[in-house]
């Protein structure tokens, strides 16, 4: 990771970025036409457990993950941490405050992470000049909501094994390099078993057992946080059949 990021050039995650057509016109020669010039204010650098924003805090910016990953969490009334979502490279972050202007959850870096930072008022002002940007923004919000819906669909499934298979499948889809194979062959999980458990509404031991079970069945290979896909078809079938 570079100590200082060069904002004048698109990075790898820009290829899949939620705001791609609105931001870096990848593939075009110049950057003069970038609708977000002057709006993407500065990069933000986070370390593991650093908080990007906190529940109750005023929403200043919308963020785009460039490198690394974050989780959004709420503190349940009983003190337990609930994981609402994971945010990977290219994904939007910070829209939870859209209704009230104040964040509903904390955003925590799962490791070193860099982000694009878009001051929301500037973004809206720019969108007022360029209607296409509004359309982009709505689409990005829609994708974010779609991920939330997938989360709900996992949680409603009553069998732990189903939830775990769906989680892995969704994560693999999201990390899949743009335009490549139907399913990434391997990935390194940015989050702990406990984070996964609190995301899926399970005990962390259950998640661990679920991974082991998938390995015993020859679907995946697990070594700590490194997961290798051994049988993508079976994984897909597990997700479909429930």
């Amino acid at each position: 990771m570079e100590p200082v990021l060069d904002l004048s050039r698109p990075c790898r995650s820009c290829l899949r970025c939620d705001l791609k057509p609105a931001c870096r016109p990848v593939g075009l020669d110049g950057l003069e036409a970038c609708p977000l010039d002057g709006v993407v204010r500065a990069d933000r650098l986070l370390g593991r457990t650093d908080r990007l924003f906190r529940a109750g805090g005023e929403m200043a910016c919308v963020y785009l993950v460039r490198e690394g990953a974050l989780k959004t969490v709420t503190l349940a009334p009983d003190g337990e941490e609930q994981v609402l979502g994971f945010h990977l490279a290219g994904e939007l972050l910070g829209l939870d405050a859209l209704a009230t202007g104040r964040h509903r959850c904390d955003a925590v870096a799962l490791g070193s992470a860099t982000l694009c930072e878009l001051p929301f008022p500037s973004l809206l002002a720019r969108a007022a000049q360029r209607p296409a940007l509004h359309a982009q923004l709505y689409r990005a919000i829609g994708r974010s909501a779609g991920r939330d819906q997938e989360h709900v669909e996992m949680l409603i499934r009553r069998q732990a094994a189903d939830r775990i298979a769906m989680f892995l499948h969704a994560l693999l889809e999201r990390t899949r390099p743009f335009g490549e194979a139907p399913l990434a062959p391997a990935l390194t999980l940015p989050m702990s078993r406990e984070d996964i458990a609190r995301y899926l509404g399970l005990a962390l031991e259950t998640v661990s057992r679920g991974f082991t079970r998938l390995q015993d069945d020859g679907v995946i290979g697990v070594a700590g946080r490194h997961v290798e896909i051994r049988n993508a078809d079976t994984l897909r079938r597990l997700v479909r059949q429930g």
Copy 2:
């Protein structure tokens, strides 16, 4: 319920409507200033089990519930219906298609229902002229996302009793008449036990038992779909303590 709705006058649910400031300027003398004049196209009348839109269908409109209630559902791969959300009077509906332009779920009326229908292209065109409308729209989307987040928070709670208490509490908050008592004293559930179960990821028998238990503990009174709040403080405590 009137056979034909008078769109020139605000109805009861307009008081809590997700788009209120943008639509009927309730309290003002005239309606000339309504930013949505000409956009709210016509009212839609639905009967029980009628579908407002279906998964895969092209998104034409955004809807606002005037009377009645709807549920949004997906068909799980195993054929089971999953309930993603309930939409009460004044709430927005149809934003699930924001990302792709195609709906991700079905919307089903839980009983007779009437809706305001806002063709999305017209809405965006009008918003381009009136920036404040965009702001309204973002807020409405944010509220919708906030309800989804509450849903996730219920589902992550592992005890069935917690989920049921939270569900009741949230529903009471949402049906509470504008500016009135902290919690509605009673309500008639628009959805069946099975719908609630598929919304909470539980078996319908578990939901029924949960209601009975709350009644035995003196928290609520249950008679079929009619629920009366006997001890609002206890209900709130259940929600907070988990």
